[in-house]
Amino acid sequence: MAAKHHRVGDQPWVRRILVGLALSITVILLVIPLVVIFYQALSAGWSTFTSNVLDEYTLHAIGLTLFVALLTVPLNLVFGTALAWSVTRFRFPGRKLLTTLIDIPFAVSPVVAGLLYLLLYGRNGWVGSWLGQYDIQLMFSWPGIVMVTVFVTSPFVARELIPLMQQQGSEEEEAGVVLGASGWRVFRKITLPNIKWALIYGVILTNARAMGEFGAVSVVSGNIRGQTNTLPLHVELLYQDYNIVGAFAAASLLAGIAILTLIAKAFVEWRQSRPEQPAPERGGV
């Protein structure tokens, strides 16, 4: 009797086909390549893997990648928070436009972004030639890499914060100010705890993208081994050297970062959806 009344789209064969399709696509396109990366990286044995990872140039690439992420993440944390704050808490002409402009780095191909930076800040570029007179070189060195990485990853924090801050409104902050709290105290005690998990989520995404960015960085870095080579660029370089195992060893590091990111992301999502923890009741009288 009950079996006759299915919800819309809940026929068993529809369900089986859709679930089966989703699962096989996931396995073919996502899981198998990930497994292959680690399989290939370790195909010549553990000692080859470690020697590949501990290779001078690989270590340098790891160092540069971490360095770039270390500069990019705090910059975009501050930038994203300030941006989200201004478009959700203030009314000013151009506010809507600004909200749209935030998405430019998502809409533009990273290679195009890299080329634009090269055009502007390169030795023959408008700003670059002027800076060149003072012997400041941005492109083909680490400042250029940081610049394009900041550009590419700039929307993540703001995009996480804006909907949340819009939904929360500013009543709690107003209440804080009425009670005499300074602007800094309001931010630290009221705003920050309310946006904490969204902020961490944004940072995780920013960090993952900053470490993995290829297109924009490859245009402005110049690919100088041991100098301006980040980990993703290094993977390509090794691959072109026909050092397949080495390339996969370096790639496995990036894959490892991706897996850690996923775990952290899942944790933050779980934490975000959880209501405030009940405090233990005060015992005794």
């Binding site: 009543e171 107003e174 705890p193 923890q277 009940p278």
Partner: protein, 372 residues
């Protein structure tokens, strides 16, 4: 501390929220800002608090101009419509927030803060909930915590934005009584915003009726209800029965209905406003009025029987409403569909020439006069 509002104006884009409002809020009194949505009452409250700036005019607290004083330094208590409790802080931490925000020199020591919080928790009758988080409280409890938080720094002015708007009827009545008792004990100068006329009349010492960014009338609740000065206040405060017609030869006529108005001169359009308690029902017209009405519905619940009637042979935008004691109801047994006649005791006549009404009393004509 008294509050003086001088020529305050505020525009949001093309919308005029407040239009040259001036008002005196007496010290130690509970004042209601009453009006429909969009009348500017919340904007006025926020300007008094300093949460919004005015385009023109001044705000004075006890004679001192505070217009340029930051909200942080105005030392007011503010209770938000949706409580605005700090979600991630416990009830006790919420209440202590204002005290802990004081500059280091004025801040009481930790033990004293804890003591004061406990006292406030006693006052709001929630001493056991100190360690709860706001999400674990009911609406009424949240509202009490919001009040305690606003009062912790001992402000001399307490501002409340629709304080009972989000609560159900029973809790609302309890909290109203409790707030009134609290006010009578501490005597701060309080202003609360409401769109509920019953709440305003029951709770406050003084009611400010607002509409379209302007003050319509300021008065004590009883006087306000008895002597509305404009059509708007009449319509907004409780039900009113209206006869709209032509005034000619001291008689207001529309269709089959008429009311004689001795001592009223002129030949023009006019409206006669009558409160439900200012009209009686009879089986036949009286010497001074003929207002045929057919009974539409009878509501028995309450201290009085409420009867709704449809005009017969004339027109009214809204149904008429007339009260009758249960005794009288038992004697006459009016039923749905019966034809009855309304006999006014007192009426308030609006003509186009005057914005204020002229009160007519058919039993004691000598006492009925126009408003001063």
């Amino acid at each position: 501390m008294s509050i003086t509002i001088e020529n305050i104006s505020k525009r949001f884009g093309g919308f005029t929220a407040l239009d040259n409002v001036s008002l005196d809020i007496p010290e130690g009194k509970l004042t209601a800002l009453l009006g429909p949505s969009g009348s500017g009452k919340t904007t006025l409250l926020r300007i008094i608090a300093g949460l919004e700036s005015s385009d023109a005019g001044r705000i004075l607290f006890g004679g001192d101009d505070v217009s340029d004083l930051h909200v942080r330094d105005r030392n007011i208590g503010f209770v938000f419509q949706h409580y605005a409790l700090f979600k991630h802080l416990t009830v006790a931490e919420n209440i202590a927030f204002g005290l802990e925000s004081l500059p280091r020199k004025q801040r009481p020591p930790k033990t004293e803060i804890r003591e004061r919080v406990n006292k406030l928790l006693e006052m709001i009758q929630l001493p056991d909930l100190a360690n709860r988080y706001p999400t674990q409280l009911s609406g009424g409890q949240k509202q009490r915590v919001a009040l305690a938080r606003a009062m912790a720094t001992k402000p001399r002015i307490l501002l409340l934005d629709e304080p009972f708007g989000a609560l159900d009827a029973k809790v609302r009545k309890d909290l109203r009584r409790w707030l009134r008792a609290l006010h009578d004990e501490f005597h701060f100068t309080s202003i609360f915003v409401t769109h509920d006329q019953e709440e305003a009349l029951e709770l406050s010492d003084q009611v400010v009726v607002m509409s379209h960014g302007q003050v319509e009338q300021v008065n004590e609740p009883a006087a306000l209800y008895a002597r509305p000065e404009s059509r708007f206040v009449f319509d907004f405060l409780g039900h009113v029965n209206v006869l709209e017609g032509n005034l000619k030869n001291q008689k207001l006529t529309q269709g089959d209905a008429w009311v004689s108005l001795p001592s009223v001169q002129g030949d023009q359009e006019a409206q006669l406003y009558m409160r439900p308690h200012e009209v009686q029902l009879a089986r036949s017209p009286s010497a001074h009025a003929r207002l045929p009405l057919r009974i539409e519905s009878v509501s028995l619940i309450g201290s009085e029987v409420r009867i709704e009637l449809q005009p017969e042979g004339w027109h009214s935008n809204e149904l008429w409403e007339i009260g009758m004691s249960h005794n009288e109801f038992a004697r006459h047994a009016p039923a749905r569909g019966d034809l009855w006649y309304a006999v006014p005791d007192i009426g308030h006549l609006f003509t186009n020439a005057q914005s204020q009404p002229r009160t007519v009393d058919w039993h004691y004509p000598a006492t009925a006069t126009a408003h001063p």
